[in-house]
Amino acid sequence: MRLDHKDIDRLVSTYREDFTPDVEKGLRRLHGRITPVRQLRPHSRQTYLFGAAAAIALLVAFFFLFIGTGNQQLLVNHTGAPLAFDLPDGTRIVLQQGSEAGYNADEYNLETREVQLDGQAYFEVRPDADRPFLVANGDSELRVTGTAFNLRTEGNVMEVEVSEGSVTLEQAGERIAVAALECGLAEAGKPLRHAASPNLNHHAWRTGELKFDHTPISEVIGYFHDNWGIECTWAGAKECDYAVSGNYQGGDAGAVLEDIAKLGGLTLTATSTDGKHYELSGPCPL
């Protein structure tokens, strides 16, 4: 017996037929490779409480940067308005102006869905119990299977405010569940904090809505910082302690802060031209 050309031709037709890659894993990887920018969410409502940002949005054409660095995909919002991105699994991220998010396109949506955030964003996470959605910041990590929430990272601080479902906030072996209308805070070296947040005021940079119901003025000032980076100090370091009530929808953040000050009988003075530094002065309300 001897092999002739015909025998060999038949044999070699099976060359590498044993190579059988995982199709579904490959498909998830493909989804990760396809540019995730699906649309710019039009924020036609009065969503920019911060007037300067709105002005920039009018002057500067929408500009977004989508950078691929190796397999690391970086989503950057350099526009003057919130900008929406759809990730490969269908999760939507609305990035605040100046914020960045990143993920590894080769690994995203395989075992987990891991995203890094620098700045502030609103997430609508596509439910998937098998592939948890994770956002890491230093030692802190947010774990989600499907929900909607606002997340802010600043240095070693990670703050989440949940509008739908629930998330788990973890830091150095400690973990807390944060449910809808609640807020959680992780800060390096400090215990995790957890509080009710019925008015979702951390969403205001996107929704344009602020609601106060006997809210301490220190907390009100905190919302302006967290949403728009506004620093508001007290003249002579003399802080007042009184409660604020009222609803605000749209408009300029500085003007809203001025209204709040006037209602308390205080004066608001801009201390810089960037619209982000103010000083409160006057007699404290009774």
């Binding site: 017996m1 001897r2 092999l3 050309h5 025998d7 060999i8 031709d9 038949r10 044999l11 070699v12 037709s13 099976t14 060359y15 590498r16 037929e17 044993d18 190579f19 059988t20 890659p21 199709v23 490959g26 498909l27 990887r29 493909l30 490779r33 396809i34 540019t35």
Partner: protein, 193 residues
Amino acid sequence: MPALPTATDTALFAALRTGESAALDELFRRHYVELCRVAIRLVTDGAAAEDIVQEMFTSLWTKRDKLPEETPAVSAYLRRSVRNRSLNFLRDRKRIPVDNGDIPENSTDTQYQPAAALEQEELQVRINRAIDRLPERCRLVFVMSKVEDMAHREIAEELGISVKTVENQMTRAYKFLREWLAPAILLIFAYFG
């Protein structure tokens, strides 16, 4: 368009041109494994083969508006695309040899004896190993001809060699493979008749 599982490849391709991402997924599911095999036969590395096919599908999506309007033979179109990308991969890494290379002297696989009972799986391993042991230019010529059904002239153009060289390489390949596969001849006839 008909429901995706029953749609023809041509209908899926047309839907892909209009931006229907589900059509891309269905084409991927239907052809991924076979296209990866096309790539690995040329580049011999599984991870690189998957990368090549991933890039081809990514390109299909990102350049969908430039796809041909009528594509009756989608499978052939995809195979050709992966084959071209695989050859570019080899060229970029200077893995297409400029010389003929030497046939291994001890061409008999000492792991197997003629009388040894080989399972079909082992036979597949032996076939893979036999082709992989060919000098690279010889291997590429043989695979392009006998597995990818390319004409000798086409192979010559792709590899930048003469048709005569292609024919010589084919002769070398057959000689080597006949010797290498001889120990498994009984099993081969049992499985392949």
